[in-house]
């Protein structure tokens, strides 16, 4: 490299740098700042990290790791971080990262559930999830026992921790349009809802769990009646057409209503979880309860069209029972049709009270005696039209004087009560009678007689005219009769004057009239 030592011409000298650099470059400031910033972010993240929870779901539908939020009253309080199947593949186990400072949320009775769009009963919920996707809702429990593993609810709870009130049970044979979330009305005010329902173990009825918000729960006494207030409650009965609704809402989605009989106003509120019967409608709910009803059979020969089970049996207009069953029966020998109608009679509604009984006397024997007495006095069951418009029938148990005496055969079960044809049947019978009698009327001979009579009448009229002529002559002005008439009129005029005198007297002494009359009466 000998040429390197050779001087190079025209190479200018560089200008001196103003300042020398420090040995350790300031550039190291940059990674230090980056490290500090990174560490700070990490510390904030770690310190700000909330608790982790494990939530077990039946299905992972709508759950997405890293996306699905956990919300409380619309505020994000966590996010689902992982979604996996349990070892036996029967469940979905998710872990969720909760927001900082949510430790207080995670207690023993905290509940989680997935919010998806749901249309149930009164509630159309989770519509926003159509856009945002499902999210997990949380209802914070009251317990103080901390918890990190939860089993999610299958259906959203109707009642969350914040709402105060009490639960009651209503038994119904048929769910109808009821669902969890269906409103419960009290005086047409929505005061609660159906929280849940389940089939009883024996499969005979459904138990509805009703949640009544405070303070309305205090209006429920052991005697409160609950009924289906679903939609239009239209009933056609002997009383006519009745339409009952609770509210427009209940027409759309059904409902449950309750009412406490007014006489029960002072009764103490019912205990939580008291079991009630859910009646079909308000009328059923407030129908007087039957006390140990007696069963009887009535046999009608006429059409029972319009008679329905539940139709009342009335005595003097008072419902004393109801129709239980209507059958048809044809006599094997005569092929005569009859309709045996089973009724339930509740004699207590006639005022036979247990407390009126003599000591040692049996209520059963009293009832027997009552029925016997009524029947022997001519009491009969009769079908009557309750409502001309609907043609519905009811059974009237009335006394028909003059009917031949019968006795009730108590050995038969159920005993049979005597019947009489219904009003309509009776009318039909009499119309038939009239027509039959009309048939027997000899119209032809009547006509001939009439003709003869008219001829006689003609003759009589001719003679009658002669008579009238004679009468005319009698009352002519100059006749004797005319003079007599004049005298008579004078007499009448005199009589009128004395009447006036009497009237004047009475005007002055009206008491004489009373006294005189009183004396007369004596």
């Amino acid at each position: 490299m000998s040429d390197s030592d050779a001087p190079l011409p025209h190479v200018p000298e560089s200008r001196a740098l103003s300042k020398k650099r420090t040995r350790l470059s300031l550039v190291w400031f940059i990674p230090i700042v980056a490290a500090i910033a990174g560490a700070w972010v990490a510390v904030v993240r770690i310190l700000g990290e909330g608790p982790k929870v494990e939530i077990v779901f039946k299905s992972a539908e709508g759950l997405e790791a890293g996306k699905t939020k956990i919300q409380y009253n619309g505020v994000d309080v966590g996010v689902v971080t992982t979604v996996r199947l349990s070892d036996d593949h029967s469940q979905v186990i998710t872990t969720a990262q909760m927001a900082p400072k949510t430790e207080g949320f995670l207690v023993d009775d905290t509940r989680f559930w997935v919010v998806r769009p749901r249309i149930s009963g009164a509630n159309v919920t989770g519509l926003n999830t159509l856009i945002s996707g499902a999210y997990v809702a949380i209802d914070i429990g009251q317990s103080t026992k901390s918890m990190r593993t939860f089993v999610a609810l299958e259906t959203p709870p109707v009642v969350t921790g914040e709402v105060r009130g009490r639960f009651f049970i209503a038994k119904t044979p048929d769910l109808g349009s009821l669902d969890s979330g269906t409103p419960v009305f009290f005086r047409r005010l929505q005061v609660g809802q159906v929280a849940s329902y389940q089939l009883d173990k024996d499969g005979q009825a459904l138990s509805l769990k009703l949640f009544i918000n405070a303070p309305y729960d205090q209006y429920i006494t052991p005697n409160t009646r609950f009924w289906h207030a679903s939609g239009f409650d239209v009933s056609l009965s002997a009383a006519g057409l009745t339409v009952q609704t609770q509210s427009a809402l209940s027409i759309l989605i059904g409902g449950v209503a309750f009412e406490t009989p007014p006489t029960d106003g002072l009764a103490p509120p019912a205990e939580e979880n008291t079991v009630f019967t859910l009646f079909n409608n308000r009328a059923d709910a407030f129908k007087l309860p039957a006390h140990d009803p007696q069963t009887f059979v009535l046999t009608f020969k006429e059409s029972v069209r319009g008679l329905a089970p539940g139709a009342p049996v009335e005595f003097h207009g008072i419902a004393i029972g109801e129709v239980a069953e209507i059958n048809a029966q044809i006599d094997a020998k005569t092929f005569e049709f009859s309709a045996p109608v089973t009724i339930h009679l509740d004699a207590q509604r006639l005022g036979v009270a247990v407390r009126d009984l003599a000591p040692g006397e049996d209520i059963g024997s009293i009832r027997k005696k009552l029925i016997d007495t009524l029947v022997s006095n001519g009491a009969r069951a009769q079908l009557r039209t309750g409502n001309l418009l609907t043609g519905s029938l009811f059974v009237a148990f009335e006394v028909f004087p003059g009917t031949p005496a019968v006795t009730v055969d108590w050995s038969r079960t159920p005993p049979e009560l005597p019947t009489v044809p219904g009003e309509l049947a009776a009318i039909q019978a009499s119309v038939v009678n009239i027509i039959k009698k009309l048939d027997q009327v000899p119209i032809k001979s009547i006509g001939e007689d009439l003709e003869k009579t008219i001829a006689d009448l003609d003759r009589a009229l001719v003679s009658g005219r002669g008579t009238l002529d004679n009468a005319n002559k009698l009352i002519e002005p100059n006749s004797v009769l005319g003079a007599e008439l004049g005298n008579t009129l004078q007499e009448v005029s005199r009589a009128a004057r004395s009447v006036r005198v009497l009237a004047d007297y009475l005007e002055r002494h009206p008491e004489s009239l009373i006294r005189g009359k009183a004396e007369e009466k004596k």
């Binding site: 490299m1 040429d3 390197s4 190079l8 190479v11 200018p12 000298e13 560089s14 200008r15 001196a16 740098l17 650099r21 350790l24 470059s25 550039v27 190291w28 940059i30 990674p31 700042v33 980056a34 490290a35 910033a37 990174g38 972010v41 990490a42 890293g66 996306k67 939020k69 994000d76 926003n128 856009i131 945002s132 996707g133």
Partner: protein, 213 residues
């Protein structure tokens, strides 16, 4: 390598990086300023290795939060969502959207990490005085330098998206902390590339050759 190679440094001369003027350092001075354009003159970039190391370490540190933290917060009627770069890649991955997803994956995750790795490799080899694969290393440097100016694309895309989406009433996009770290990675790697002096790659070779002679 040819033994006839000659560098300015070997002649005690400095070449101006700006105007290419060759000059001689003033007496007693090591470095100086270009007598023509005033650019700082160094035989080799001033504290090149130290500065490059600092920027690379800084970039490497920022690379971690840039990928862990969300870069964008999307707020819609359905709520707000924060996505990291990787989540964005996954989100975009679809039969039709995969090219875009791939671009984001390459530009935002692979290239920054590749740049950091390449720079570390260059720094280590230069410091150890390695003379192997010199040509390859220079090509690597050129590629890294070339890519550098496009690294900001991702940040700009995010910023533009944010600005555009703000206009829609139903949806808004806001930058999240990860984006700042990501921008820091891009800037720091660019600075690292800038401060690295590729002439160093050849210096060890020269030293070897000098020693051989």
């Amino acid at each position: 390598m040819s033994a006839t190679v000659s560098t300015a440094m070997q002649h005690g001369l400095q070449s101006c990086e700006r105007c290419a003027l060759l000059s001689r350092p003033a007496a007693g001075e090591h470095d100086g300023r270009c007598p023509r354009c005033g650019e700082e003159l160094t035989f080799r970039k001033h504290e090149s290795l130290q500065r490059t190391w600092a920027f690379v370490i800084g970039a490497a540190i920022c690379y971690i939060p840039a990928n862990i933290l969300p870069v964008l917060t999307t707020t819609t009627a359905a709520g707000s969502d924060s996505d990291t770069i990787l989540q964005g890649v996954i989100l975009l991955w679809s039969p039709t959207g995969w090219p875009l997803s791939l671009i984001v994956l390459v530009a935002s995750i692979m290239i920054p990490s590749a740049k950091i790795i390449a720079l570390v490799y260059l720094l280590v080899t230069v410091q150890r005085g390695s003379t192997a694969n010199n040509g390859q290393r220079v090509r690597m440097y050129r590629v890294v330098e070339f890519i550098g100016r496009w690294s900001m694309v991702d940040v700009f895309v995010d910023a533009f998206t944010a600005a555009l989406v703000q206009l829609q009433p139903l949806m808004s996009v806001a930058p999240a902390p990860g984006l700042f770290f990501f921008a820091a990675v891009v800037v720091l790697t660019m600075l690292a590339v800038e401060s690295f002096d590729p002439r160093l790659i050849w210096d060890s070779l020269d030293a070897k050759e000098v020693r051989h002679v």
